[in-house]
Assembly symmetry: C2
Homo-oligomer: 762 residues x 2
């Protein structure tokens, strides 16, 4: 049992760590040499240029202006200064709404902090249960519900207040976000996805081409609205070849630079696995021939795809004359068979995950089932391989496997390192692989937009964290053991088992918040990994301004990992609000710190890959509701052990009311995130007609959804955003989030090898 | 434990009962005097006239033609002769599809009968577990799974075969019914509901009337398609007054007839409760003044409703120029707020339950929650009042309450009657009230069409039967006791508890099938109650041909009671298919008998109140799936007690696969019953344009959805079907299912008092 002293020590250590991170960041960001690491967003938007032009040579790298150091912490007000509407304009709706998740945390937990500290802490403190019992206890337990002899009505009342307040804030937030989304949609410029519907599972016809089938069908059934369509080809092989060529090109660039630095020596390489063995050849020549071979293959494959009717998928992007027409088509059933001619709103062109369009519709269900089962096993048996590897990674294990290392291992320092850190590092590595694994599962399931893939991965990551981190920490047993125990226990005993353990784990979670939430968040702003890589690249690879631009790798929010992390704090906060109110301020510090840090990152660093228009909010809302219900069930379990049987029916109303509230919210707000109301579409159509001359819509939409590999040889990852710009006066160059990339001649494409090997997004 | 002898005796008794019913029916139906009781459908369709015109006086009442008695059982081939397409033409799609539920039963259980008897009966018989044990057992148990020492793979294999066969038939049937529905929709004549959408929750506006709001909204957002609309008034008070006047009118008629039979005596009546006490007045004069008063009130109320803007509800029936326009509007979201401007396909005018249109949208959710809770208590605590009344209804109870009856009660015959029958009668009365109660619950929930009300009631009735009859019989304990036991048992013990009890209750269910299924079905065709009432009416009340027409009261299928009954046989059959295959032939007899009987009734008797175009099939399908899954769970429970642990995981796949199958069917076929695909709508629109000159659609639709009380003073129950006829050459008078009824002058309206007091539909 931890004492106040223990907690205090941990807090001091973590605060110091966090402060060091923040101070180092504050110092580093002032150095011009790091400017592109800490402010890449501004470079991408073209609002900031390299500070090469002016001043002395040293000034290019080091900030010598002492005055700027006086304003060391100015980045905090800077991050907060930008208004929300400016933020939307600057970084997009997704980012702005993402910040509201942190803000919502503050809005929910600040009042909870006051009420729980005002009511529960005194009530807990003035009881004496623990003193009377003979068990060991600490001061922290004295402030928790453990110190209460029987379930007290104060706790039940506070549980009600917490739930009502949370629901109230959730509803307000859902409403706000839905309105922000509508406002954003209404003020958006002309975009192809407003007019376009993705049609899947078009039934084949032996006598007609897919293109003709689509055209005839929509001319017949949407004759007033149909404008044009684009068929989708299965160009996965082509994309693979293009990617392969790009990799070879990167290596070629690398050897060319190497050669240019030492012109006397031809760079040699081995052809075998990872360049470790095999025949030695000249790197430049080898890659040049390889690239030539691939270029020929690509040209052949491209011809194949375009001419082979089998490569044409039974899917199409159908565009309409009006947004109204597209909205109608997306929301209605087209034919008798509800599994053919499936329509849905098209994702943004850059949001499309092209590879999955080729998955046949029939296999989607099977894939879903397989992945559901796979995820189940992943969640409940993930700990088994970890435990296995950990058991290998102890000293005896290593000695057995590699006996010749024995003398080294027995050095005391190395020994203690292996004993102390290796198991932890193994766990960390396995957990770091998880988001990638989950993303792969989502991809295999066949979702066709990147935003959907990330949302799905986030749901699964949350579930995994709940089972393995939350329940795992509380019951301290592997997930599959829990599963077994649960199946063999009466249904009403399960919450009890967990409920009893909850107050005892408060100190663990407080430490968790400080390490993961405080230091981790402070570490995020430092971007240490990116900083090092950038400088390495800068020294060894960058030749032109454009190369430098590419070396920045701003990254993005990473919804699939970031959001479940925030949700985990909601879960801990809501569960402990009534049980151990002492934990709440630690959560508050996390939310406040993370809000500032991520606002700074969004403004200055991250560059979103797509704009889903806050489509993730229903997920966010749903997970907070889940956390609420979990907290109710566990509280019931806990109180039922306190012989407070009377309180159970009173508490039972809470989850029921919460579920009712969720159903209400789902009906009231969720459609805003899935459907485009006809009135909105019609209004926007009318506005368009009135305010400006109609552009050539057909020409604009004709090529909006062409897979990037077909144009200018770019790979799928880099959607050329220029295609989305329609020549109207409203359009400004600021809407181009990323400069177009063409493969081939650029030396800087080696960045990609490095990026790929270190990126943890997916 | 019942022996073969017991079962045989019960079978003989029930077969004789059923045969007597059928023979009496066969005899009675040949008497011309009963013609209108056994063939009302033909009279309603105008294809049969009273046999008054020709022949001797006696022949009008009694059939003297001996030859016709030779063909006593001719009704059976007659009932089977009519083809399905003729049946649809004759009785509508609902009735034709309803017959397929029985047919599906035969299709599923005949092969199951063969496989189970070929495989399981020999396997069970050749084992000796029961002989070795010391418990008492009967021959029937020897044929059941009880006689098997351990779970045998034969049973598991048969469970798989049964499930796969059932799913296969279900899928085929779902497909057939969906196609029948589409075919029916495509071949239907012009009907107002094809063009009309019911719009609910129109947001109010202080400056505009509802009518203007609706018109402006649809002109703006559906300007190509909008045709006209009809607002809905809250005329519930008016309807109540009209109904009241009709009742008074009926009484007036009664007294007038009485007076005309005894012209010397003025008919006297009492004004008090039920005419039992109060002042004596002249019946004719009293009712005449009352009716006059009501007529004035009605005129005033009618004026009120039409002029008062507050009486106009925020709902409207909006009609479109094309079916395509209506289909689009019904399937899309109109405005930002998904709870306003709610659109759905309008029900048929005669299917509308007008009273519920006035329920404010906000209260609907609350009503649903309240009724959900109410139904929960109804299900689990229904037995409490019954047990209470039963405890009063024993001899000691009666003696206590009414001591002066003591001498009568102690007569032996009466005593044994009270002891033997009274508790059973109490139970029966309570159970007979149930469908009415469930219908009331559904009405309170606020569904706006009669078909939906009946479907909802059917779901709940099935659930009730499952808990109280099925589980109640097996575990032999009141439902609330089960509930308590389940909550305190581990989750995996529940199926075991029930599973063990299942084989022991086989004889009970066999008896149940014979009494309820065989004799009950045979009793249905006799229509004894209706026969007696018809003749009473005929003797005392009928004056004109039209009065006689109204005395027929053909009734309808009664989906809310009939379908759950069939489903109960599916449940028993599927549960016992593997456990006690002996039960299957009893089920088969039921399905075959019921198929013939109800086909006869549908052809000759029932007159459907509405046509929902088989909208109930998803419910039917879903409940068979439920029965399948219940059978799997119980079989798992049963086998787990046989120490056949290995079989559990193999069986576990069954419910999972079944649920998967259900999800597949739901996605594949259910939309056919809820949405009107745009292609279908467009095809029908095009056909219309080509095949015949377009009628004046606006004029036709303008008044299609006017509440009956507003036209010709009819009450809501009798929708004047003539309004639905559009003057095209295709229309024939045969589509008028019921003659128009106007209140007032007809003597026969007294029928309604009688009908109302005896009707058990709702």
């Amino acid at each position: 049992m931890a004492t106040f002293g223990d907690i205090g020590l941990a807090a001091v250590i973590n605060i110091i760590t966090a402060l060091i991170f923040l101070l180092v960041f504050a110092f580093l960001r002032l150095q011009p040499i790091n400017d592109r690491v800490y402010f890449p967003k501004w470079y991408i938007k073209g609002l900031r240029k390299s500070p090469t032009a002016s001043g002395a040579f040293v000034r290019k790298f080091v900030n010598l202006d002492y005055r700027s150091y006086l304003k060391l912490l100015n980045w905090v007000p800077d991050a907060l200064k930008m208004s929300q509407s400016e933020l939307i304009e600057h970084a997009g709706l997704d980012s702005a709404v993402y910040m509201r998740i942190y803000l919502l945390g503050l809005k929910i937990f600040v009042p909870i902090f006051f009420i729980t500290w005002a009511v529960l802490i005194p009530v807990n403190w003035t009881n004496n249960t623990l003193k009377l019992s003979k068990e060991t206890y600490s001061e922290i337990d004295k402030l928790s519900i453990s110190n209460i002899p029987h379930g007290l009505w104060a706790h039940v009342a506070v549980a009600y207040v917490v739930t009502i307040w949370t629901c109230f804030m959730l509803k307000k937030e859902y409403e706000t976000v839905a309105n922000m989304r509508f406002y954003f949609l209404q003020s958006e410029k002309l975009r192809p996805d407003q007019f376009t519907v993705l049609v899947k599972n078009i039934p084949p016809d032996a006598h007609e081409s897919v293109s003709d089938i689509v055209q005839n069908f929509f001319l017949a059934n949407h004759h007033n609205n149909y404008l044009t369509h684009q068929i989708v080809c299965n160009a996965n092989k082509l994309a693979k070849l293009v990617k392969k060529r790009q990799k070879k090109q990167n290596w070629l660039d690398y050897y060319q630079i190497k050669h240019s630095k030492h012109p006397s020596k031809r760079p040699l390489m081995r052809t075998g696995f990872w360049g470790l063995w095999g025949k030695k050849v000249d790197g430049i020549e080898h890659h040049e021939t390889e690239i030539e071979k691939l270029t020929n293959e690509i040209a052949k494959e491209r011809k194949n795809v375009l001419n082979d009717p089998k490569a044409i998928l039974p899917a199409a992007f159908v565009s309409f004359k009006t947004r109204w027409g597209a909205a109608v088509c997306a929301q209605t059933q087209q034919v008798r068979n509800p599994t053919s001619w499936l329509t849905e709103r098209a994702p943004e062109p850059r949001d499309v995950y092209w590879k999955n369009l080729a998955i046949p519709y029939v296999s989607l269900t099977i894939r879903k089932v397989i992945m559901g089962v796979a995820f189940f096993f992943l969640t409940f048996f993930y700990m088994i391989p970890i435990a296995f590897v950990q058991s290998l990674a102890n000293i005896e294990g290593i000695e057995k496997v590699v006996p010749f290392l024995k003398p080294i291992i027995n050095v005391k320092l190395i020994k203690s390192f292996i004993q102390g850190f290796l198991p932890g590092i193994v766990l960390k590595i396995f957990l770091m692989m998880l988001p990638k694994l989950l993303m792969r599962i989502s991809k295999f399931e066949g979702f066709i937009s990147i935003s959907k893939l990330e949302r799905r991965s986030a749901s699964r990551y949350y579930l995994f964290k709940f089972v393995n981190v939350f329940l795992g920490s509380i019951i301290a047993g592997a997930a599959f053991e829990q599963l077994h125990a649960f199946l063999n226990q009466p249904a009403n005993k399960i919450p009890e088992t967990i409920g009893i353990a909850i107050p005892m784990k408060a100190t663990f979670f407080i430490t968790y918040i400080m390490v993961d939430g405080w230091s981790g968040t402070a570490g995020e702003i430092l971007r240490l990994k990116r900083l090092i890589i950038y400088h390495l690249k800068n020294i060894f690879l960058v030749k032109t301004e454009r190369d430098r631009q590419r070396a920045m790798s701003p990254g993005s929010i990473g919804f699939n990992t970031g959001e479940p992390q925030i949700q985990f704090y909601y879960l801990i906060g809501l569960v402990y609000a009534v049980v151990t109110p002492l934990l709440i301020p630690f959560i508050l510090v996390f939310f406040a710190l993370a809000f500032v840090v991520y606002r700074h990152q969004i403004i200055n660093v991250y560059n979103q890959k797509y704009e889903s228009r806050a489509a993730f909010w229903p997920d966010v809302h749903g997970r907070v509701i889940t956390a609420l219900i979990i907290s109710h069930v566990l509280l019931m379990g806990l109180l039922s052990t306190k012989h407070a049987v009377a309180s159970t029916p009173v508490l039972l109303a809470l989850p029921i009311l919460t579920i009712g509230f969720h159903i209400y919210c789902k009906g009231r707000f969720e459609p805003a995130f899935t459907r485009y109301p006809l009135q909105e579409a019609m209004n926007k159509d009318t506005l368009d007609l009135v305010s400006e001359p109609r552009p050539n819509l057909k020409g604009y939409l004709q090529n909006a959804y062409i897979r990037p590999v077909f144009k200018d040889g770019g790979s799928d990852d880099h959607y050329n955003d220029r295609t989305m710009i329609v020549p109207t006066k409203r359009q400004s160059s600021r809407n181009t989030p990323e400069p177009s990339k063409t493969s081939g001649d650029s030396v800087a494409s080696l960045h990609e090898i490095i990026d790929e090997s270190i990126s943890h997004e997916y």
